[in-house]
Subunit: 336 residues, 2 copies
Amino acid sequence: MIRIAVDGMGGDFAPLEIVKGAQSISRDGLASIVLVGDVEKMKPFVTDRANLDMVHASVCVDMDETPSNALRKKRDSSMNRAFELHKTGEVDAVVSAGNSGAAMAFAIFTLGRIPGVDRPAIATIHPRIGEGVSILLDAGGTVDCKPTHLAQFALMGNALASSVLGIDSPRVGILSNGEEETKGNELTREAHALIKELGFNYLGYIEGTDMYNGRTDVVVSDGFVGNIALKISEGVADLIFAFFKEGIQHSLKAKMGYLLLKDLFKEFQKKADYSETGGAPLLGVDGVSIICHGKSNEKAMRNAILLAKKFVEKGLTESIRETMRDYQSMQKVKER
Amino acid sequence: MIRIAVDGMGGDFAPLEIVKGAQSISRDGLASIVLVGDVEKMKPFVTDRANLDMVHASVCVDMDETPSNALRKKRDSSMNRAFELHKTGEVDAVVSAGNSGAAMAFAIFTLGRIPGVDRPAIATIHPRIGEGVSILLDAGGTVDCKPTHLAQFALMGNALASSVLGIDSPRVGILSNGEEETKGNELTREAHALIKELGFNYLGYIEGTDMYNGRTDVVVSDGFVGNIALKISEGVADLIFAFFKEGIQHSLKAKMGYLLLKDLFKEFQKKADYSETGGAPLLGVDGVSIICHGKSNEKAMRNAILLAKKFVEKGLTESIRETMRDYQSMQKVKER
């Protein structure tokens, strides 16, 4: 059975919701769980020990701690202990809803990077018009990127989409301010020249609308732009739902309409809800690491663990390792 | 009466929709219009000459022409002739739905920049939760920005919000990947240090969600990020409406609900529709210049001209000039 370490102390609703989510997986026999954290604090919520171990770690990374501080002072935290269990092969994946900057720092420090990856990237999965999903990376891992970083993101996104999500020849694009080659900024122009040479299904520049209209499978950006794209999306969805909520207050007709459409509203909110995908994989570290929203509840944790399981089963790490190995050989051939 | 030059040949639906929109203003006596373009092509659509003049210009800037090409070869285009009429004082503002890169280039070339402004910015106006609107700048004018450019955008956005839109002490923020001072990228960190010193109601970093939740009045970013923010917003709104459209196909109940909620759906689409605001002012050039969507129809043109009129009446140019003068004096005092 696949073994997954869960940071029991990470997240706004830890340990209660974390333990409940993790236990729902172990109880169903879907994976074997190792809960890492303050055993005294987690224990009261554990009702079923089948497929569930606990590893004690008294220290906890705070949600507002800087990653560098955590890295210096919190090596024996529940978060880092989980990554250590992965490093030594005791588990196959790590799931944490704790401080995401610190999780990224510990993942890099403890698991290490896959050869050929300079900067890991957070990949988020989004609904879109029609079938399928779009992948955005980097959604906030690396803020100041070089062109080679974007090229590596493109390679990793392509690997995730094809090997793990089963998309045949995924369409990859760089998020830009227009489709023409004359568009883009200094960073994307250089990245474009690099990615063109990589030999997969590369669309060139894409626009913000293409993230949701089904034109693109993998959307590449630096972590600054990616995070803004993510939060703007949340903001627009909130605006639209707030508008309808306000509108139905003032009209009985609209209120009745809303009641009839309620299932659709709920279905959309479910589609857009982070707790449905559960979390985002950190691509480029040597292992499977899922970073969850700080507000993760039981359902979000359950789905994040299922995502981790799927990534282990589909060989995410190996597929990225292979992609990067091919890329490095290609670079060496060019240098000759 | 305020006089406004309209580029009769600019836009996907020129000259028909442009002439109709412009004429709807002149006929109502709201402003005096100067239609600039190929008179033979515009004339058939002109039915009422009250408050409406025509100035002939046979050359037209193509929609996909590079700005540098237009600047070199199309100085006698309808677009540039409109800016020349503004420069010589024959009109008070210019409205164009043509090639927006070229419009920006000609505005800078012909009108010139306001002293203290290095790069003009396109400001777009957005609905938000609750009352009022949010201003985003730069929405795509200047892609590669320096920190001083963002500081100038903040000053200009503040001037637009307070003097023209009447917002008391507007809240200004830099669009970033998180609120904490440790967030941001190289550009925003330096810009943050500059803007902090400017003395208006500066919030520091804001997140993508703050563009729509009512927390911010003026959202500052470089033109690359701003354009992506804009297009992502469009994409999410399209996704949500496509989801409902698809959903009501499969359920009679949902279809009935939609019919009852139709007014609200329409109201929102109106709120989000570019043709309602009409266009975006180009801030920092020495004059009032409104850049419209290439797909502008009669209504969009009418609203863009009304926006131009409002900006002239409220003294947009003078208010930005004053702001930049104060800023320059402040810089000089500091240098001493």
